[in-house]
Amino acid sequence: MQRIGVFVCWCGSNIAATVDVEKVSQVLAQEPGVVFSTNYQYMCSQAGQEMIQESIHKYNLTGVVICSCSPRMHEATFRKTCEKAGLNGHMVEIANIREQCSWIHKDKDVGTEKAVVLGRAAIAKVHLNAPLTAGQSPVKKRALVIGGGIAGIQTALDIADAGFDVDIVEKQPTIGGKMTQIDKTFPTLDCAACILTPKMVDAAQNEKIHIYSYAEVESVKGFVGNFNVTIKKKARYVDETKCTGCGLCTEKCPQKKVPNAFNLGLDNRRAIYIPFAQAVPKVATIDADYCTMLKSGKCGVCSKVCTAGAIDYKQKDELIEQEYGAIVVATGFNPIKLDKYDEFAYSQSPDVVTSLEFERLMNAAGPTGGTLLRPSDGTHPHTIVFVQCVGSRCDDGRGKSYCSKICCMYTAKHAMLCREKYPDTDVYVFYIDVRTPGKNFDEFYRRAVEEYGVHYVKGMVGKVVPQDGKLKVQASDLLGDRQLHIDADMVVLAAAIEPDETARPLATKLTASMDTNDFFTEAHPKLRPVESPTAGIFLSGACQGPKDIPETVAQASAAAAKVIGLLCKDSLTCNPCTAQPDELMCNGCSSCEKVCPYGAITYADKEFRGPNRTTLIRRMAQVNPAVCQGCGACTVACPSGAMDLKGFSNKQIMAEVDAICR
């Protein structure tokens, strides 16, 4: 039997005006187990707290009930008070007789009666309370950033800046991501490379940052503070430590007909390549799908010309194991494939391009050296039609239901740049809605219309017919109530963006949740936007949802701040109110595991002593207290009642029910 002290607070007149506090403390004194009951003007005051502490000593209290304001207000305060007096904080229960009693009732008798019931419920619960100690788990002071685009780079730089080691895993041979392919950035029109490449160099030169390029995350084990990650470095057949990036091999390689992925296949590169001049690390990579030496053993030109002796045809994939305290996902996005949208004739004419391809066609380092030329015949286009929302806002199974967010702005940018560089071009933009929330964004769009004379047409393109060297565009102009027929030279499609295809398998490895569109879900959509619900996993950039560069960078730094906050700690205090299975009752059925949003539950085979000295192997649920957040979903999913929640156990809640209903 517990020895319980009851402390009824007046809260000045806040409680005392509608609740007879004296009576409440008297009635509750009669409850079984209550050895002391009193009331006081302000329990949360210094004097009130001292009174509680003295009583704990004097009456040898094993449990404390405080009838006062909401636990959301002072539960933490009173727990600390009791802990200082040597009583476990979880032996304190609060009866909320202010917000949920005195403030909502006018009749003093009614208020008093209810306060007594609430007090009884708290007493009934304390009887079943047990001291809880939060576990501690150490924190490995190293972070992993998955994805080396602008999001990953920014996060890594910020974490490194705070003095922590951080590794970037990038699947491409170079970091930089999508931003390296972009020409200019809205709304300032500064060049993407000019602002990105210094950051790439910073990352490469930072002692705290290690870049695993051409690498992937193979497996992830562990939990917040203690992740154990296996990274697969794919064979690039070039020794990174020896290659100087001189590029001689990429000039001499006889295999010239490899579609250049960096330029989205708009031109060709060699089988050994450095994606672009500012690549980091600036190391050559052999494309095994095209290298004659790797395929047939005949060639070896690159090896012969390499003075550094860096070529290694026998290189194998390499597995690296590393421990991390935190993981940041920055896997980014891709434009969707357009094979289901061939009314735009994307597969039928090279002059129908995606916006990202258009970036390359406008880029000074692109396949046309920055002069806008038609891919089909290299002539200068005079009429260009831009189509927005290609695959965005679709509810038809072909595309994505969401707005891709960045297309309105980059299309305005493209249209504006076309008109600026080539004033002789006619530029049409077909839109459903122009969405430009953002600093200086709408002004930017208006400039495209007003100063640059871009024809914005409210409507959609229905059909593109390549014929006689032209693209016959059939479109609607809803405001003019007419159908337009435009003979265009180029059509540019603002394709919807979707999460990178590596995101889904990665989410599985991380037990991080995703929405139906494969974007990572955040722990709370408003209040915890850069954290995954899985503790220790953070989100940076477009992997969480479509984002432009400023938003991506902001989120990247926010994720970094969260990581730094985690890595600063030597150990993590776990939530003490965690789920705990009773091994004797667990069926091992996995029901609980399926509803756990945190992946805190795992299964292991355990030996049990059976009858007649036999041993039984049984499959048992195990909760990782460092990961469990104590929601209790598992406790109800469990058919045998083996799973219970500390601090809110079945018996405790039922005791409250009984106390209220009796």
Binding site: E99, Q100, E113, S513, V636, I653
Partner: protein
């Protein structure tokens, strides 16, 4: 027993810690009145509510039980209320199937900002239950009439 003026129902409200309990606090802070018949039990999340607790409340004399949680999509634990929603739907349907008055059980999503909604919901619920009268059926289900 017929419904009379004196009948004071016992009502148990399970509130999730993050939204609805805070919403209940807010209705207190704003001094929005609702009957004292409602007694709140704090649980971490609506998904912590075991059907057993509801039946236990009825067994011990409760006349109505209501569960309040975060709005779907706003769960502090991301998905808890989605599970709760299914569980309660099925449980309530079963109670209805056994002839228990539908009005005795209810789920309402109340955010931390919806103090007014909390008070209004409770006023409404108490009224419903008062009209239904004391809960006899669940207690009496087994005892056949003479």
């Amino acid at each position: 027993m017929s419904v009379n003026e004196q009948f004071q129902p016992t009502i148990v409200a399970f509130c999730c810690n993050w939204c609805s309990y805070a919403g209940a606090d807010l209705s207190g802070t704003n001094r929005l009145q609702y009957p004292a018949n409602v007694k709140i039990i704090r649980i971490p999340c609506s998904c912590r509510l075991n059907p057993m607790f509801i039946l236990r409340a009825f067994q011990r004399g409760a006349d109505g039980v209501i569960l309040c949680g975060c709005h779907p999509g706003d769960c502090h634990y991301t998905t808890g209320n989605y599970y709760a929603r299914r569980r309660m739907t099925l449980l309530f349907s079963m109670l209805d199937f056994m002839g228990i008055e539908r009005g005795r059980t209810r789920v309402e999503w109340v955010s931390a900002a919806e103090g007014a909604k909390f008070a209004a919901t409770m006023n409404e619920f108490v009224e419903t239950i008062t009209k239904l009268g004391p809960n006899r059926r669940l207690e009496d289900l087994r005892c056949s009439k003479e």
